[in-house]
Subunit: 237 residues, 2 copies
């Protein structure tokens, strides 16, 4: 995984972190907000989220669209319909896909030090329209199972006609970076600590709720076991 230094902050790698600076304050901050170019970190963030923000250039201006995604070892998969106009206009245009998970608010002693604990992945590349039917089916399955695990085998799979009407984009995971902030605020060892104000993290907890049946559903059809099993479990772990 590479990262273009010209457009993202310098990253560190588990094997070769840049030297930390001299003060303990800066040291802490570095450790709390870290860039990573590790593929395992990228996979962890992509695995935890299910909505991405796709950045395109349309008529010379940026456009950011929310969309679901799937991924395997090599690619991120997106529905082509999201980017259809842009793709028609510029089939070989670069995109940026960002997945962000918010873990909590960082409440500091000073307003200036407030922050957000988050995990974020950014992927750059030129998406490829998937034309091979086998790859298309695998990619769509990836996308479907990432959003709603178990539904590919439970629900009716795409017909030949539906497959033909669906376009799928594959984006290489080769150019990506991850940024994660965890932990308390950075002003615990500075002069503001003497203010004796409460400081810490307010976590954001996201879980799957109780399934709401479609009102059109006939009586006697119970929630599928794989759906029922998600109730109460964390959504972004």
């Amino acid at each position: 995984m590479t990262e273009s230094a010209s457009r993202a902050p310098a990253t560190t790698d588990r094997g070769g972190r840049p030297a930390l600076s001299a003060t303990s304050r800066t040291q802490h901050r570095r450790l709390r907000e870290q860039g990573s170019a590790d593929r395992a970190d990228l996979r962890a963030v992509l695995g935890a989220g299910f909505i991405a923000h796709l950045g395109l250039i349309v008529d010379g201006a940026p456009m950011v669209l929310p969309t679901s995604y799937g991924f395997d070892d090599e690619h991120l998969y997106l529905h082509g319909s999201v980017a259809s106009r842009s793709l028609q206009a510029e089939p070989a245009a670069e995109v940026c896909v960002t997945v962000t998970l918010v873990d909590g608010l960082v409440l500091a002693r000073s307003v200036f030090e407030h922050a957000v604990n988050y995990r974020s992945a950014m992927i750059y590349g030129v998406p490829r329209l998937v034309t091979d039917q086998g790859e298309k089916l695998r990619g769509l399955r990836c996308l479907s199972e990432h959003l709603a695990p178990g539904q590919w085998d439970y629900a009716r799979r795409p017909s030949r006609k539906e497959l033909a009407a669906t376009s799928l984009l594959a984006l290489s995971l080769d150019e990506a970076s991850v940024k994660i902030r965890t932990g308390p605020p950075g002003d615990g060892d500075g002069p503001d600590a003497a203010l004796n104000l409460w400081a810490g993290e307010l976590p954001l907890i996201s879980v799957w709720g109780e399934p709401v049946p479609d009102p059109a559903l006939p009586a006697g059809i119970s929630v599928a076991a794989h759906v029922r099993a998600r109730v109460g479990t964390p959504a972004f772990d």
Copy 2:
């Protein structure tokens, strides 16, 4: 609020919805996923979220960055640091800011009809660097109070030096659109209803968790009442 037809789906307005098409199936779908150009809807989405995805063009390619935001009746406020490199290179460049809230998964009878219930706002414009000190302080307060309500009065406010070191961007809310999907899947009245599979919504519930004190905090400092009051309350209402 206007919307450029060349780059976003046609919107409807409460006062003048486009005529719905003939079939009940299409009618349902239209009602479930709606565009809006109502300022009240825009305010509701911006008020419910607190993380935006900012789309910029950097070196000719799109870049999407997560960032916190605040807003008032006229503007969205963003920290200038998020876009600093881009702003230096192209001070009058257009951006797109998207705020998305995920409300649940839409589990249909066919994989093809799966969807996500969400609320999303997109704002387009050329951000303005706020130089007036009064506006800057009001904007920063907006941003701070939207992310962490109550902290502006509780924590230490920015010093003159901190204010000088902070840059603030204001983006007009004049060019924006909102898109919302709610409700069950769209295949409840189609042929797949006969499959007798469970279908409905799996809601995503996000609440504020129990505050985690900074380990550097001396004993005896209790959680501020305005922070305590958020525990267990919905995060994106």
